[in-house]
Amino acid sequence: MAASRDRRPGFSRRAQYSLFLSYILAVAGATVGLVLLVLSQFNPPAFAALRSAATEVTAPVSSGASAVIRAVASVPQTISTYFRVHDENAALRAEVARTHDTLVQARIIVRDNRRLRGLLKLRDVTPKVVTAARIVSSSATSTRRFGVLNAGRWQGVRPGMPVRGPDGLIGRVVETGPNTARVLLASDPESVIPVRRIGDGMPALAAGRGDGLIDIRSVGTTNAHLEPGDRFVTSGVGGLYAPGVLVGRVLKRGADNAPAVPFAHPDTLDFVLVSEPFLPPPPAAEPQEVPATPTPQQGSQP
């Protein structure tokens, strides 16, 4: 089929003008898009209201669909559990017998630890859990990694609160609506989390890569050697993430920098906990009295 070269819709002036007007409107739309883009580059949380209005509408749908999928997914699991129950029982009994000694030892250590901490008058800061909710959907088409949480301001969720799953850290809240919140996942390219290595406490930063992994970057003064299997937990530096939450396990050997697999995967089938920031945010600095223009000193001329 040959394309027609003439783009005029006919001899009608009205049709020609309306086509011309539609092109002008399209250019205007592109310009508006450009302006919005520049504004959101300089101030990413701008237009959060628009986005949260959209998620307010879509999150209930996602929640409902997620509930249906959970119900369907639980059927084969229940059946397989029913058939595996005998073997599982035997395996669990064996494991209980095997770990009994370790458990007793661990109880003694915990009691000792509590006593020694009492002697040292250490004050533990336990972050208060705000709410338990689900990640109901995620930005599956975008290179950014966001999740939508089905709890918001009415449940006490505020921007900046850390989010953790049953296996480890998931991310932090960046925008909140009345009933939904947007979570920046730990694997997002713009997420950075202060961590330390289990074992020697070596400080590092866990920065998202965007491909589901996180980069562990050493911040120590000496050369750090990262080995496969090194596990990293949050260090509590900065006061946002409570210390001791699992973040990632190193995949490949590296000096100062190595990719790691996050422990927690945002899964719509499981609950996540939103907690308050580990330390309260510092009070806003008092604006100092500064004269608008420095007063020229009289008689400074020699």
Binding site: L37, A54, R209
Partner: protein, 169 residues
């Protein structure tokens, strides 16, 4: 059943015939609300696929300013910075206009090629706008582009199926 089978049957009212393309593109954007905690950005942008299919199969179905509004809707849902789809989808329409002027022969293969160019442009530009250059998303992005291009015939099928219902406008 369809109006194509009943050429003299009752046609869709004008307003509904106008609204159908909009509704299908918005439905494409809404695919991103499915309850999946995606670790990788592999899902194709269905809104863009539907938009391109409409533009290439039925060029007059959507006004030239429609991609800006539909793009804004997509931005609210997709997690990209607001304004990226608004800008890129409109530029895609201009791109297809350019191809319309220059191509002499057009069949579905050419349409698919044009759609492939537009999809690649949108996804690469969207990645450059949304994520810092150092992020390791290129491999996944290439996979996403490939999946999107391969799914375009399916989107065209869907659009053709809907378009048959609003044919007598």
């Amino acid at each position: 059943m369809t109006s194509a089978l009943q050429p003299f049957g009752p046609t869709l009212p004008r307003s509904r015939a106008r609204a159908l393309p909009w509704a299908t593109v918005m439905a494409g954007s809404l695919v991103s609300i499915i309850p999946v905690g995606a670790t990788l950005p592999l899902m194709p942008p269905f809104g863009l696929l539907m938009l391109l299919a409409w533009r290439l199969l039925a060029p007059l179905a959507l006004r030239r300013w429609a991609p800006a509004v539909l793009g804004l809707f997509d931005d609210c849902l997709s997690g990209q910075p607001l304004g990226s789809a608004t800008l890129l989808w409109t530029l895609c329409f201009f791109l297809v206009d350019l191809f319309d002027q220059r191509t002499i022969f057009r069949a579905f293969a050419q349409d698919w090629l044009i759609a492939a160019v537009a999809i690649t442009f949108c996804l690469v530009a969207g990645r450059l706008l949304a994520t810092p250059l150092g992020a390791h998303v290129e491999t996944v992005l290439i996979a996403q582009i490939a999946v999107s291009i391969l799914l375009f015939p399916l989107a065209s099928r869907a659009v053709a199926w809907v378009d048959r219902r609003r044919i007598a406008e």
